[in-house]
């Protein structure tokens, strides 16, 4: 499982207009790495077949 390295994250943050120092880049990298297993599980999991694709379903709890 690989996640972007710190330089890639720093470039992305700068491109998006955020000014973050080296310490924060390291913190971002650690956070991305820590969340990767859960994020990867979600990416590989099919959606429930009841309209869950639209995030509005999460905004309002509609019973199928």
């Amino acid at each position: 499982m690989s996640v972007p390295d710190r330089d890639e994250l720093a470039v992305l943050a700068a491109r998006l207009g955020y000014r973050v120092d080296d310490e924060i880049v390291d913190v971002m990298r650690a956070a991305v790495e820590a969340s990767e297993p859960a994020a990867a599980r979600l990416r590989s999991r099919p959606l429930p077949p009841d309209g869950a694709a639209d995030p509005a379903h999460g905004d309002r709890w509609v019973r199928p």
Binding site: L9, A13, S35, L42, A52, G58, D59, R60
Partner: protein, 468 residues
């Protein structure tokens, strides 16, 4: 004796005190509490005293409204007309500490019901920073000044626990009402998403955020929730609601409790777990029954929830991206993760909410309430904010929101209920989680529990002896 909202209203009705005296006393106690705990950003002395005189007149004339003359605190991310909203920061808006031009819907509703805001309460910076916001500093816990009151509704919890005010308003994105309520021995409600409008509340995460009351009893929370709930025509997520009908029975016959394990209990101090067991035992003794119920994906709720919260927070704070160096460093460390969360992951995280809702639907098909720890430990220690679970130290953010984020992701309401004191002398708490718009069931169970026990009446040693 330290009357809660209900007792105070009864005292007014009996003529034992009046709003002028009670507000004077609240302001005086707030001053003392702030000196001891650092819980208040601003006292609203003149505004509150003027409102108290009007309330006293209404009581005298027989035109008292439902919360006439009850003083309350307001977390300083919520607007009160004529008063600055600092968000606990030096960096808010383009006009510094300019006063809010209008009150938030929640403040207006309470004032329309006769309640009187007396303070803007300390918050962690932008409701997401650490225990030591650079502008205002840490809020100490009334139960142990060497500990933090919790957050992000930190000053609100401390002020209520210190008996300075009978209730306060907070906001909850990952547990920010329920966690400080738990750590300060209070009853705190995160309502169903959209039940209480957020108009006039500085946002942190539009998907997960709710406003909720912190009080000293379930009966007070029920009263306050009845005033606060319902659409305001301005918050697009607030919607028409079913009636709030909290059963008044003293028994819980027919109430079904699921007591899930897994992610809810795998990191949980023995004293906290004992409190959960005690709550369940009392509810069962009152007629409830325990039924099976697990939430299989709950273990991912915290991580995925933070992805949503921090992505939205980084988006909201992008406008100030060139001055993040003046923010609380903890704010930057936390929300910077959101800068680099890919859009496809953020959107998949939003879809995950629906999967969790379906898992909860499966539980609620056979149960009315989930009973889980509110948080794994007693209050964090200062200065580092670590928590201790069964003798082992953990970082604050690895532990604190494990059981609360589920409600922010799904929209399910959660009520933090004090369940006693741990051997360290600090409060422990359990959370009653209900299906959407079923707050009444949690409030019913908590009221019955509080009629059978006295944990919610326990007072910290720093609270003055005859406080309101």
């Amino acid at each position: 004796m330290s009357p809660d909202v209900t007792d105070l209203l009864d005292a007014y009705a009996a003529g034992d005190t009046d709003p002028v005296a009670a507000v004077d006393e609240a302001l005086s106690r707030l001053e003392a509490a702030h000196e001891a705990l650092n819980c208040t950003i601003r006292r609203l002395d003149d505004r509150a005293r003027a409102a108290a005189r009007e309330s006293a007149r209404r009581w005298a004339e027989g035109t008292a409204r439902p919360l006439e003359g009850v003083p309350f605190g307001v977390k300083d991310v919520i607007d009160v007309a004529g008063v600055p909203t600092t968000q606990g920061s030096w960096n808010h808006g383009l006009d510094g500490d300019a006063p809010a031009t209008a009150s938030a819907t929640v403040v207006r509703r309470l004032e329309d019901a006769g309640a009187i805001p007396v303070s803007k309460d300390a918050t962690t910076e932008f409701a997401v920073g650490g225990p030591h916001p650079p502008r205002f500093g840490a809020v100490r816990n009334p139960w142990d000044p060497g500990r933090w009151a919790g957050g992000s509704s930190t000053g609100s919890a401390a002020a209520v626990a210190a008996r300075a005010v009978p209730f306060a308003l907070g906001t909850d994105v990952g547990g920010s009402v329920r966690l400080p309520a738990a750590w300060c021995g209070l009853t705190g409600l995160k309502p169903t998403a959209g039940a209480i409008p957020r108009t006039g509340v500085f946002p942190l995460s539009w998907t997960t955020e709710s406003v909720g009351p912190l009080a000293r009893s379930a009966r007070d929370v029920a009263t306050l929730f009845g005033v606060l709930r319902g659409p305001d025509g301005a918050d697009p997520r607030s919607e028409p609601l079913p009636p709030l009908d909290v059963p008044s029975r003293a028994d819980l016959e027919g109430l079904r409790l699921a007591v899930p394990g897994g992610a809810f209990t795998e990191l949980c101090d023995g004293a906290v777990q004992a409190g959960v067991d005690h709550l369940v035992d009392e509810l069962v003794a009152a007629g409830a029954e325990v039924v099976p119920g697990e939430v299989p994906s709950a273990g991912d709720a915290l991580t995925i929830g933070y992805q949503i919260v921090f992505t939205e927070a980084a988006t909201l704070h992008r406008v100030d991206a060139d001055r993040w160096d003046t923010y609380d460093p903890v704010v930057v460390r936390r929300i910077s993760q959101g800068i680099v969360t890919p859009a496809v992951d953020y959107l998949r995280a939003l879809q995950f909410r629906v999967e969790l809702q379906r898992e909860l639907d499966a539980v609620f098909a056979g149960a009315d309430l989930l009973v889980v720890p509110t948080c794994p430990s007693t209050a964090p220690r200062l200065p580092d904010g670590t928590v201790v679970v069964d003798g082992q130290e953990y970082p604050l953010y690895a532990a604190q929101s494990r059981s609360t984020m589920l409600g922010n992701l799904t929209g399910a309401p959660g009520l933090a209920v004090p369940t006693g004191l741990a051997p360290d002398g600090c409060p422990v708490s359990a959370q009653l989680v209900a299906a959407p718009h079923r707050e009444a069931l949690a409030l019913w169970a908590a009221r019955v529990f509080q009629e059978r026990t006295a944990h919610h009446r326990a007072r910290p040693t720093t609270a003055p002896p005859s406080a309101p």
